[in-house]
Symmetry: C2
């Protein structure tokens, strides 16, 4: 049986191993931990790494909270259940190098007192400069992970990521997508709760290896001042997505989430420029053109040879 305690402990271990792997990847900076309690029940371990050799700011948050379902939560979950339990690991890393992408990962488990329970999660990539080879490798790796549990899931959850990480007024995806799933319950496509738990953990456990590969491929490339400026503008766009359009962030901030742990996802510095339009033909313009739904999706033929 897959119970709350087992899931919570597995998620804590995933946080631990990711932090260890990110410190090893960076080589100089170390995480600082902040333990916190939630007044209504439970708490978390917020870990932040700053000013590293490559990691400018990274946040790896674990939380396990429980308590009474607020009216907002009841409305969002369409439930009348009075009590809930939720645990998850959430990560955002902002590198200091414009050619290394921002990455986000989240895994979560939710359970109501009536026994209803589900998993959610995902990994997605926001390059300041899209590298097509990286994008395809990233998606192929996610497809492999999904295919281990169910060959239908990659396609479905990659489409979900494109829809979720989207800025409607700009008709622009946040980055090159990835996978995103929510409300994944036992029975879905024949998967047991334990299958889904394993799938969620597989995703969490793949994070460090996926990111290390991207970081190590690009960290020694030349640093160009104009590319740094573009990086800061793309961070501004990342902030815009997270604060305006990300339903998870907004829900946390307008319900009783811990503001500082939620806003850990923001970079330590970001810029905005009024109506900035890169010139046609530049790498910046190419990147903007690449921020389209479905553009980097892995295909079956490709993944067979991967």
């Amino acid at each position: 049986m897959t119970d709350q305690l087992e899931i919570k402990e597995a998620f804590k271990k995933i946080q631990d191993s990711i932090c260890a792997d990110l410190e090893a990847l960076d080589g100089t900076a170390k995480f600082k931990e902040d333990l916190w309690n939630r007044p209504g029940g439970g708490g978390g371990r917020t870990r932040v790494i700053l000013d590293g050799d490559i990691l400018e700011k990274g946040g790896v948050n674990f939380s396990a909270v429980h308590g009474s379902t607020t009216p907002e939560l009841k409305q969002q979950l369409k439930t009348e259940a009075e009590k809930f339990f939720a645990t998850g690991v959430s990560i955002v890393v902002h590198p200091n190098h414009p050619r290394v992408p921002i990455i986000h990962m989240n895994i979560r488990y939710f359970q109501l007192e009536d026994g209803t329970a589900w998993f959610g999660g995902g990994i997605d990539l926001t390059p300041h400069y899209i590298n097509p080879e990286d994008a395809l490798e990233f998606h192929n790796r996610l497809k492999q992970i999904c295919d281990q549990t169910n060959p239908k899931w990659y396609e479905r959850y990659a489409a979900w990521a494109d829809d979720y990480f989207y800025i409607p007024p700009r008709k622009e995806t946040r980055g090159i997508g990835g996978v995103f799933f929510d409300h994944l319950k036992a029975g879905q496509d024949g998967a047991s709760k334990s299958d889904i738990f394993n799938f969620t953990c597989n995703l969490g456990n793949s994070f460090a290896e996926i990111y290390a590969s991207l970081v190590n491929k690009h960290r020694n490339e030349p640093r160009v001042e104009s590319e740094r400026e573009w990086q800061l503008l793309r961070r501004g766009r990342y902030v815009e997505f997270n604060l305006v359009h990300d339903r998870g962030t907004r829900f946390g901030l307008v319900s009783d989430g811990r503001t500082e742990s939620i806003l850990m996802s923001l970079p330590n510095t970001a810029n905005w420029a009024y109506d900035h339009q890169p010139m046609v033909g530049t790498a910046e313009h190419e990147t903007l053109n690449g921020l389209k739904k479905g553009k980097w999706r892995a295909h079956s033929s490709r993944s067979k040879t991967a």
Copy 2:
């Protein structure tokens, strides 16, 4: 009779005179104008000033738009009217000096095809470092302007500003408040449409003088690097308010507003630090303690002697 055209032209003149006054105040930088059309009807003049002697980024936007009421607008306005007209001037200025405050001003007029019409607006101040003398002078000046039309309005609209410019999860006001009003219609407290129009214009016309006084008082004070760091963190908080909690910004971004004109309110650069807590006794800590509703409100006794 106060009609759409008269109001629109008056608002355009207010934009013109504010831009001229801000350029004179700055002394070096000039506004750049971007004319835009709204596909559904109307358009605007977005003006941005950058990298000045004191104005790091300032946006002064005029717009006059009309067209069909979208479902979102109908819901927000609780109306079934099919057509609307809206015009307004909106300003945010981010100075480069930590001891000079951020300022925001907005005046707007809205009319539905059924003839329902109202004004809205306000001015509020967000100091990086609260200066109590400035705060009281600022509120006294706003009280004078309100008192010219109706002695009840300052108290009511200052309370409204405190409620509007508020970050609930942080229990913190964005700045030291000011005045904010909306849906102000002919007949309110005996005021005619023309009284309200004049009140709104008075507020708009007071902006440049109010801000010039604050800028000139502080622009030559020493610039301290640690104060600049704090300024960038307060800008991060300003972004947090505008993108997460400001109903006007959010409504614009999720309806068919022009993203770049709306986000003109963001600073050109801002910082975030995880769980930053200034030490007790510092000026930064004092400022945080001052971000409370009602704290800087002008009182009748004070304004009589002002």
